[in-house]
Structure formats: C-alpha cells, structure tokens
Subunit: 494 residues, 2 copies
C-alpha cells in the first residue's frame, strides 16, 4: 500500500483477520471486513462529494460511537487530518477551534446537531447516505508516517486552546510502546467508555486494539452499572480509566459479586492510583497498569507495569521503551534522584508541534526534539518518577524554589489535615510566599499556629507557608487531581 | 538517549527490568543490568583500545554464545556495523567476506581461532580482557533508525556472497511486525539453537526477546536431546526452527513422555511445515506460527498465525502488518488469485541495499521501495500466498512459462511417485523443455510412459515434460527444501 499511515490499518487488519469483530456498539458487531468497507465508502464520499483533500481538516463532534472511529480512519486514508472535539465545550469554544483548524467538514455524532457552529456539517442521516453513496473500492493515497494524522486541542493551563499535531508515526510508536509494556493478545475485548476526543482513550485503547485485531466495545460515556453489565456480557479483557472511575466501580454494591474473571489489563492514567484502591483491586486478583503522558506525547511517556504497581505506587513508572525522559533542575543541570526537576520527553511519540503556532511550539519543543512538559517530577534511585507539581504551581520566594507538593506532603502528616493545597501569593518582600489551603477532618481541630508549628523542623524555614486558610473543600477534576488555577483565582490575593 | 538504534536496547531494558535474566548459557544467567554493564564495557574498549568508529564493521565468527549478543549490541552502541559470519563457511569464503566488508575487528567465538583470516582478531581471552578494561559508564552515540545496524552476507542462488545492509529501523519494524502477530509476554523463555548468523534466529527470536524483556537461552547448535533437556529444565516458552528440526523432535523416543507444557509459541520458517507434522504437534496441543521471508526483508514478509495454521497449511500466510506483498505476473500486471507471480515486498523492514553493490541493489530494489524476492508465489482468494518456485527455476518453453511446482504437483498425484523435481533443459526447437526427475515409492513401479500418460489431460501439452528420469534420491537442504541448482548441474544436459 502507498498508505503507510494509520488510515491503512483497517485494510491491514482485514487482510489478516477479516472475520474478527472490530467494533461492538449497542449490541451490534461489525467485523474488520465490514469496518473496512464502510471506511472505504466514507473516504470515497468525503474525497468525492465533499471534496476533502490531503491535509484538509475533518472535525468530529460526538461521544464515542462507530462514526467517530470510521471518520478517523477515513480521514487517514485520504491523508486528511482528524480533529476530534470535546463534547463538553461550550459553543463559543467549539467555534473557536473549528475556525482555528479551518475544518473542511464537521461530522456530527448521532446525538448532536451543529446549530451555531461554522462550516459544512454532516449530520447522522447524511452520514449514512454518504456511506451508501461511496464506492467500496480501495482508497490508497500516499501517506507517510511523518504526515499529520490528527490535531487534538489542549487547553493547557492557561490561554486559548492549542492544536497539538500528532503524526501517524507518533501514534504508531505510542502503540508500539504499549505493546512492549502490555502483552496484548489477539482476542482482547477493549471497553472504551472514556471519551476518545481525549488522547488517552483514542491512543491507548482504540489504536492498539485495532493494531492487534481486538474488539473495541464503544460506550458513549462512563456509567458504573453499564460497565458491570458490559464486563460480564461482553467478557471485557481491557479497560482504560482514570482513578475515580475505578473508585466508583469498587464502591458499587455489585463489586463483591460481579464476575470480573475476564479482565486482564486495567490501564489507568490521569493521576496515580491511590494505594488503598490498588489493594482493593488486588484482592480481586486485578493489578493496574499506570502511566503518565499528555496530548503532546501521544500520550505515553512513563509507564508503571503490573510487577511494580505496589512497591512503586504513587510513581508514574519509568520511560516507555522507545521514549526518553529527563528531569531538568532549575539551573538546567540534570536533577539528581530525589531532587525535583522539570520533566522533558523525547522520542518518536513527541508531537510535530502546535498547529499554526510556531512561537508556542518553540517554547516547548527544542531543536533536538525534547518536549518540555511543564510538569515537575522527582525520580527515585531506580528511576521511577513521581509527578509532583505543574511548573506553573512552583512558588519562587526570595529566589528559592518552593515545590508545593513537598509542603503539602508535610502538611498531610498532621492528623487533622484531610486535604490541603499550597499556592503562591504575592509578597512585597519575597516576591511570592506560600499559602496553605486546608480542609480539616470532620472530627479534628487545629489552628494555623498548630500547623505552622508542625511544619517547623520538618521543612526549611523558607518553605513554610506564610498564610494558612481553612476551607470547606478544594476544587478537583474528574481524575481527582487538585486544580490549582481556580484556587489561585479564589485565594491568590495573599 | 541520543541512540535511537538497537544498540540502546539493553539500556532501555535495564531501566525497566534490570533484574530480569536476559541471557542463559550453559547454566549461567546474566540479568539485563549485567548485560548492559558488559556491553558498555565492551563498547568502551572497542571504541578506545581498538579504535572502532561509527560506521566501522565489526565481524563476529562463532556459534551462538553471549559474546555474539554482546558484540552485536556494543557495535550498535558505537554506531558501528555488526557483520555475523556463517561458521560453516570455508576459510576462502570467510576471507572473501572479511575483505569485502573491510572489517575493522573480527571477534572470535570461544570455539574458534582466526588462523588464516585477515584483519585484527579478538580471541576469547582478549575479549574478556577488553571487557575488564572498559569503563561501565554509559556510551551514547547519536544513532538513528536509518543507520546501518548489520550487514549479513547472503549467497543468493548464484555468484559471490552479497552483504545485505539492514538498518536499526529495519530490524525494529520486523520485531514490531512479530509483536503484532505473536502475543509475546514479559516472561518468555526463548530457546535459540538455530544459528544467529542467519537472519531468522537473530531477528525473529533474539531481538524481539530483548524488546519484551524475555530470557534468551542460547545454544551453540541444535541437538534433539539437549532441546528436550532445556525445554523441561528452563521451561522454554518460545522456540524457532526449520521444519526438519521440529520433525527430529517429534521422532525422538522422548516425544510421548516429555513435559512440553511450558511451550507457547513454535515459530517455524525456511519451508512450510508438512501437514502431518502440524497434526502430530496439534495432538500435543501445540500449533506452529509460520512465516516466509529472507535476509533482505529482515526477514518477515508473510506470516501464518496459529488460527489458520491448519486450513491454510502449505501457504506462508498473509503480509505482515506493516509490510506489503504483491505478486507480479510475467507481463508486469498483478497476478490474479490462483495465478503465479513474482513476489515483491515493500515496507519498513526492506533492506537499505547491498553493501557496495549499487548494481546488484538496483536489480532488486526499485525507487519506490519494492524488493524483488526472486520467488514465485500464488495467492488464494483470501490472499494467503503459497511459495512455489524460485524465478530461476522457471522454465520458458516456446515462449510459455512453465512453473515446475505445478507440474510436480500433478506428478505427485500418481501413486508411484514418492518424490519428484522438474527442471528445464536446453532444447533446439523450444529453447527449453521440462525434465522430470522422479523417485519411485519402494513398492511401486511405473515407466516414463505411465507418468506422461498420467499428466496428459491434467496439464496443458506444453507443460508436460519431454523427459522423465528415475533417480534414487533428490538433493535437499536442512529445511527439507529441494535444491534445484545441483539438480540442474547433474541432469541439466537434456
């Protein structure tokens, strides 16, 4: 084939395993042969009726469903660029992305209408008409591993969303890194309920699943009961989720009695799995495979396999096989074990850059291919990296770096502290000083002085927060990760 | 790491799984951490004491042993080129290759002395001295996937051996193709008794084994009893061999009682596994994974997985995932299913070319990356390819192509024919005509007329051999494949 990209994968699969089921959705199965035929028809119609050319952007707005997978592969067949949109965005945000990407076509999931959004829309009814009208003959455009496969918009911590350009090679190598770490078999049944408009579900589950010829069970969203139903009925072998999803599953009344015997690999990302959750699953014979990454690294950068999931709990593991990670101290030297450093990633999975943003690209991507993650990590003696802070969360006080995670960790040692977060607030003398926001345990009492006294001796003087404020709760994302930006907004006045 | 080639793999493995055993040899184990230290020391000494530079050729002459693996990786660390030599070659042949490759260093296996061979030798004693003298500090030269990793000499069918240049990328993609087809786990124990100076053992067993962090059990040569001992003692999970090796194993008196329960994957190449052998192994719950390839394609081009090993027996399967195969009819058009065509291979596993032989390279490698194999294959309706003839074995008679395999297949339908081979012999009128060489079954009789009458109606007239000669036996290689070249020499006079 002239197509060396991921768009050719349904064809590569269909010549090996045409009769295996590729996709299951709402009780309906499609084999690789059927997937290929629909993808050929769609690519033909997109290229013909809708005039999509090589390099054009094809956007998709919808939850997980077969049309999303088909549009992804059809765009790849044409050498066009897939742009998945986050269904949770508001209309002005979606409009911004569609205009920034200059999308030639917007394919809509069956649950969406495109009201208010710019450009040429393809709704669910027209989508099936396009497939019916397209020819099932092979489409084979010359596409290389270096061509852009998709643009995925990432909001980063601040500012307008930027489109990370991921090549076919980026996503392929990420899948290869996963195959090195996880012994995926031919008969995997992969439950995909995390949204594929995020990189993890797309690149860590769908793409490796198709590479191996497994069966992807698509779910529009995560629901605990549906998850149990599907695990038992479809005999799911692989699941991906964030820690909170696995927490909800374990808290369900179905947990003690459900048949989980089909599960082989639980992939977890977004945040480290808390140790109690690791133990809860271990009692059922289930271990987590954890990782760390981001959209810009397709996403896998670090991986923590099943063997070390307990003794290295809380870390994100070691670099993926074909990738490299280094930790850079504030002075630019390599951070020694135990010392914090900004995490850089290099490898064939590192993005080509941000779409039409050469300046933003230059800020994070060096000429020799190292990507600055903006995250701060600490490696132990064995090279296992614990992600501690975002570099934007770093507090610089009188020329000294204060890593909030270190201060928070010391605060957690106080018996009255249920949750805490340390942020920087402006200070005339020191530039910035630390401020601790603390949620107390319901049955405990402690004043600011108690906590400051607790920290005295545990931390260098400059690291001890100048202010302590007691709050009712702290803002967190779906993965249970603390969100510092809103905290700074609320409490950053000093 | 700056090294993106296979030389960096021991380091990539050691950061993930330092304490796993990498190599077992004569009852001695070395972990990945130990392997890495020895490889660093050796690379340091090769680069320092012996002055090996990037691009220099480092030859190795010896049977399978740890020094061969270490030299392979150390050369890769330096960006030097590994040149494994076939231990069965005579001194003049070895000298020719060493001079053609301009080897900077010749590392000798512990069983060899380099008497009579040109260049700088490193014998077994000096080898250990070099390792002791080298620094264990990391060696990290900039090596890309496009750099040459090894030159492997292939005799082809005629002429002087040519050095196929395989890049780090070629060998990496071949291993990735294998991981897509075979669900290799982390705890594989891979028995390597086929010689690693051939591409199959090196690229289909050692390299994927290290990629996954498995344990390679090295054996200097194949021996049936040793194989049984090792399978039982080391709990071997993966074996590679040619069909005759698997035949010898099944014929052993130990077959009925041996504990083969550890075996997961039997990889077989060189020739299709005969159906009776497939059945014999199947009775023990063992299936073969078969393939077809050659040195120039690193080597995997076609793969026949366990699922289809019975119903597609005799074929070499379908193209490997990231590779493509096409069959080209004599007029240059694509050969239709059921029709013979020369097999071409394209993909990231196709060699960079023959060492210092641009004309030979141009004969087999087109500008768009298609490699002409010189083999003739026939695909069935499902795309499964049966390798039938070498193109040099093709008989051209009065302008018509005669495919010997087709004639032989018709001859085999006669009950008296035990074995047969059809070759072309010169003919004044037709240019060439067919000649059948036939071994009769011990308890059967048939004359030339009987056989020709048998063919009449079964084959077009022009395909029917003009001559039939009865012989006692036919020359075969270790894999049981008929050797046509010696037959033509002996019987080609017409």
């Amino acid at each position: 084939m002239r197509n060396q990209g991921i768009g050719s994968w349904p064809a590569r699969r269909a010549r090996m395993t045409p009769e295996r089921v590729a996709l299951s959705y709402r009780g309906r199965d499609r084999t690789y042969r059927e997937l290929l035929e629909r993808v050929y028809r769609l690519a033909c119609a997109l290229g013909g009726t809708l005039g999509v050319r090589r390099g054009d952007r094809v956007a998709f707005l919808g939850v997980n469903q077969p049309a999303m997978v088909e549009t992804f592969f059809a765009a790849g067949l044409l050498g066009a660029v897939f742009v998945p949109l986050n269904t949770r965005l508001a209309e002005p945000e979606l409009r911004y992305i569609l205009e920034d990407a200059e999308a030639a076509v917007l394919v809509l999931g069956e649950e969406r209408d495109g009201g208010g959004l710019p450009g040429r829309h393809v709704g669910a009814a027209e989508y099936e008409e396009l497939i019916a009208s397209g020819s099932p003959e092979p489409v084979d455009e010359p596409v290389s591993q270096d061509d852009i496969c998709l643009i995925m918009y990432t909001s980063g911590t601040t500012g307008r969303p930027k489109g990370a350009m991921l090549t076919h090679g980026n996503l392929t190598w990420n899948a290869v890194n996963l195959l090195v770490d996880v012994p995926l078999a031919h008969d995997e049944v992969v439950l995909i309920s995390a949204p594929m408009f995020h990189i993890a579900a797309l690149a860590q589950t769908l793409i490796p699943c198709v590479l191996k010829g497994g069966r992807a069970v698509l779910e529009p969203s995560f629901d605990v009961d549906r998850t149990y139903d599907l695990i038992e009925r479809e005999r799911v072998t692989v699941m991906f989720g964030v820690p909170s999803m696995f927490g909800f599953i374990a808290q369900s009344p179905r947990w003690p009695t459900a048949d989980l015997s089909s599960l082989r690999h639980l992939l977890c990302g977004g945040a480290p799995v808390p140790e109690p959750l690791i133990r809860t699953y271990q009692e059922r014979g289930l271990t987590f495979l954890q990782g760390y990454g981001m959209t810009e690294t397709s996403p896998g950068a670090l991986f923590l396999g099943a063997e070390r999931s307990v003794d290295k709990a809380g870390t994100a593991g070691v670099p993926c096989f074909f990738s490299d990670v280094r930790l850079v101290a504030p002075d630019g030297s390599p951070a020694a074990p135990g010392r914090p450093g900004e995490l850089y990633v290099q490898g064939p999975n590192v993005m080509a850059g941000y779409w039409r943003r050469p300046e933003d690209t230059a800020k994070v991507l060096s000429d020799d291919g190292w990507f600055r993650s903006g995250d701060i990590g600490v490696a132990d003696e064995d090279g296992y990296v614990r992600i501690s802070d975002r570099i934007n969360d770093l507090i610089i006080s009188g020329g000294e770096n204060i890593y909030p995670a270190e201060v928070e960790s010391a605060l957690y040692e106080h018996p009255a502290v249920a949750e805490c977060a340390v942020i920087g607030v402006p200070d005339e003398r020191w530039g910035e000083v630390g401020k601790a926001l603390v949620v107390l345990r319901p049955d405990h009492r402690a004043g600011a002085d108690d906590l400051l006294k607790h920290l005295d001796g545990r931390l260098a003087r400059y690291k001890i927060p100048k202010y302590v404020e007691f709050v009712g709760e702290l803002p967190k994302n779906a993965a249970g990760k603390l969100l510092k930006a809103p905290l700074r907004k609320l409490y950053g006045g000093g």
